[in-house]
Amino acid sequence: MIPLVGVINVKHWPRSRSFRLWIPLFLLWLLLLPFAILLLPVFFVVCLICQVNPFQAIATLWSILAGLRDTHIEIDNRDALVLIRIL
């Protein structure tokens, strides 16, 4: 299943100053869906020119998107803590 929510959390020093941003990725996918459908013929043509199986390409891109789920990146230094999570 593709990720539905992204969370960006930034805490500046002192740690009381912080903001948390929830990005509803499912809305982003819904917004991108019409563009994806419009670009699908172009994508197929490019795949045929490059001699790549378009269905395999779509499946791979989908699995990459789905694989992003549960990604966790946390960087903490003296000035700030940045946390990115994809749920």
Binding site: T60, S63, I64, H72, R78, D79
Partner: protein, 153 residues
């Protein structure tokens, strides 16, 4: 029914062994017939580990411009597997270009020989990988210590 099991049942019917003994013998037979856990190999590991973790812990000594930095990254193994599948999408023309560039760099390597199955095997064995780097650099601000850990969990 195999030969050993039949012998045990015959001994039971002849009264040479009790029902308890027969049960224990059959249990022992079943245990020895079960495949060893290591035979499951990488596939078992592949299902056991879900993430690749990268931990970096850096302490820049007494450097006033840079404090300690900690990086904690968790990459799902599923993403790595999907990335590996990208190798199958490299167009043949691009593969030729890559091979030529590799040869020019003195690396006689043919990427056409890399199959997605090979990369899949590589990922499966990545589960056993643990990298620990512990470095000390002496600089103008004293010792800079960096610890890097890469492992699967």
């Amino acid at each position: 029914m195999n030969e050993h099991r039949r012998q045990i049942l015959e001994m039971l019917s002849q009264g040479k062994i009790t029902a308890d003994e027969a049960e224990r013998l059959i249990a022992a037979l079943d245990k020895s017939a079960a495949p060893p856990s290591s035979a499951a190999g990488p596939a078992t590991n592949a299902t056991r580990f879900k993430y690749l973790r990268v931990l970096v812990d850096s302490d820049s000594g007494r450097n006033p411009h840079q404090g300690p930095v900690k990086v904690n990254i968790r990459v799902p193994m599923q993403l790595l597997r999907a990335g590996v599948r990208l190798a199958g999408l490299i167009p043949p023309q691009a593969r030729d270009h890559v091979n030529t560039a590799l040869r020019q760099q003195g690396i006689p390597f043919d990427i056409n020989q890399i199959k997605p199955d090979n990369l899949q095997d590589l990922l499966d064995h990545l589960n056993d990988l643990t990298i620990d780097v512990d470095a000390n650099n002496k600089g103008g601000y004293g010792d800079e210590k960096v610890k890097v850990r890469v492992f699967c969990e």
